[in-house]
Amino acid sequence: MARLNVNPTRMELKRLKGRLKTATRGYQLLKDKTDEMVRRFIIIARKNKQLRQEVEKELVFALQNFALAKSLTDSTQVEEAFLMPSKTIKLQCKKSVIMNVPVPDITISQQQSQGLPYSFLSMTADMDSVVFAMDKLLEKMIQLATVEKTCNMLADEIEKNKRRVNALENIMIPQMQETIKYIAMKLDEDERASTVRLMKVKSIIQKERN
């Protein structure tokens, strides 16, 4: 492991020791953070999978029924019926935070409903049931959107965090340890050198006196 390019001085040694302490602490914290995020992620991912299975099944069923119902009616008539929706939905969006990751929190806040967008005369009863089924499904779909987005963002954050942990564990901390060792050795060596030099000088002076 390459050591850092620094001057072997006492100042640098002190500074590096401080940094190593911070890095070790940060490493521990980040590791704990990853653990907790993974725990939460698994819960959310399970929910995501279950929701998606339900939504996919129900939506395909509803869309197929819609296609069937549509085939029984004149296509222009269908278009006309759906041209002006009688309903508008408004969402309420908040940002909640999971382990410092901002994730969306979407709920349907207001739903102005006036029933079907067409008169009972113009469409078959099949179409009515499709619209009602869709209505029920919509809430689940919005929920799926929230959960899926949360899942995405958490996965992203976990990956980033893992990288940070790895960088600290395998690069930063060993590098600093190596450098600290190097500086300590160098300082010791200098000290020994100066002691030896002093002894040598002393013995030369002693010799001259004699």
Partner: protein, 113 residues
Amino acid sequence: MYNRVGVIGNINSIMALKAVGVEVFNATSADQAIELVKKLSNGEFAVLFIEETLAQQIPDVLQKAKTKPYPAIVPIPSAKGATGFGMQGIKNDVEKAIGTDILFNKEETTNGR
């Protein structure tokens, strides 16, 4: 801000969603879908559903949108049935976060018993 719901796909199959208050945008090709996604990511739409068949063709755009909290772009199946693209997305997320796919593997082994 962020209070509308949109769906991108073939107008014939998703028209039913219009009846429940979702705004419907017609796209039949990948280019149209990309343009719509860009246009609709302007800060008004919180949720964009997109048909799986279209979503499969524009992975780059979806990947870019994943980093922001809004809009949440969610692939949905069309009337032809689910292609498994949405499930694959969850699988990818799990693999990304944990390193190995534990959710789906587990299911397979329990099913096999």
